[in-house]
């Protein structure tokens, strides 16, 4: 390839180049991966496939689970009994050995999830975690001053409501089932799912519903 940027494009842009040298961990990852492939422990195709699996997961899946639980009491009870098989009912597959506990928010209990040791997250149903979830301030403070953390997210939980923080350290992952907001009785399952965002399923916010101005 020449430096000259001249091919068929309907827009202009600077040549796309990689100038930075790979860092220590980039090199280590490449070296380990190439060795594992070379030793035939797994194939390049399997790595590509797994990345594709992970990238196909988004909070929209979790929102679908929440909306179903809000509208179908029998499903909700199965989901609270076994989070993994509940999600699997909706076609959300789990590609690893993790189990899922669905934590129901009520008028008496508000759940918050964290992984103090690393970044365990219900990836099969929510996709990749947000950066703040993986960083030390959230991980350390969520278990020490959860109310202050929630307030920074704009969430105020009354003193008589119990805050329950679940610290994910094992083969169990968590998904928060937020409370269905008032005034949503007329919404169907799809419309309800649209209200449910990632942060509500981590437990840092509650689901809000504002009727659109006519």
């Amino acid at each position: 390839m020449s430096d000259h940027h001249d091919h068929d494009h309907d827009h202009d842009h600077a040549p796309i180049t990689v100038d930075e040298l790979p860092g220590y961990f980039d090199l280590m990852e490449t070296a380990v991966r190439e060795l594992l492939v070379e030793r035939k422990l797994f194939k390049a195709e399997e790595i590509r496939r797994q990345i594709e699996v992970l990238d196909s997961r988004t909070p929209a899946l979790g929102a679908k689970v929440v909306a179903r639980a809000w509208t179908d009491p029998a499903f909700k009870s199965r989901l609270l009994e076994n989070g993994r098989s509940g999600c699997e009912e909706l076609g959300i597959t789990f590609y690893d050995d993790t189990q899922l506990i669905v934590l129901e928010n009520t008028g008496a209990v508000h759940n918050l999830i964290v992984c103090t040791l690393c970044s365990c997250y219900p990836r099969p149903v929510l996709g990749l975690p947000p950066d703040w979830y993986k960083l030390k301030p959230y991980r350390a403070r969520a278990v020490h001053e959860p109310r202050a953390v929630l307030e920074e997210f704009g969430t105020f939980i009354p003193g008589d409501v119990e805050i329950r923080v679940s610290d994910s350290t094992a083969i169990i992952r968590y998904l928060v089932l937020p409370m269905r907001p008032e005034g949503t009785e007329h919404l169907n399952e799809t419309q309800l799912a649209d209200l449910v965002t990632r942060d509500a399923m981590i437990g840092v916010i509650q689901v809000a519903y504002k009727r659109e101005a006519a």
Binding site: E81, N82, H144, P146, D160, I163, T169, I172
Partner: protein, 118 residues
């Protein structure tokens, strides 16, 4: 209830469970989290060591002991995880919030002790 993560298992007379198959702790038991500091990989956060909690649920799907797994030794190291409830005020004497606020965490069997053992 069958196949549930948290369900109780019926005991049938004449069925002999394998070593380690019967959970050591029951729901409602008070437990003390060990204060050891092993070398290698394990999943017991420092901030909870020595704290007292209550078994809320037994994770029925047994799992490999991380401390063994960290060295590639998986065989024969399966045990139970327990969902343990610990009040925030037990963990942090200076906790700001309601006395009802609490933490939940799954802890592997070999990190839990009965209060009488301590």
């Amino acid at each position: 209830m069958e196949g549930s993560l948290l369900a109780k298992i019926e005991k049938i007379s004449g069925v002999v469970p394998a070593e380690g198959e019967v959970p050591v702790f029951n729901e409602g038991d008070t437990v003390v989290i060990a204060t050891r500091s092993p070398i290698g990989h394990y999943r017991m956060p420092t901030y909870l060591r020595g704290k007292i909690g209550k078994i809320e649920a037994i994770m029925r799907q047994m799992a490999v002991d991380n401390e063994e797994e960290g060295y590639g030794r998986n065989a024969g190291s399966k045990g139970h995880y327990y969902r343990v409830a610990i009040p925030m005020t037990e963990i942090w004497p200076d906790y700001i919030g309601s006395a009802n606020d609490g933490l939940r965490i799954e802890i592997f069997e070999n990190w839990l002790e009965k209060p009488s053992d301590v």
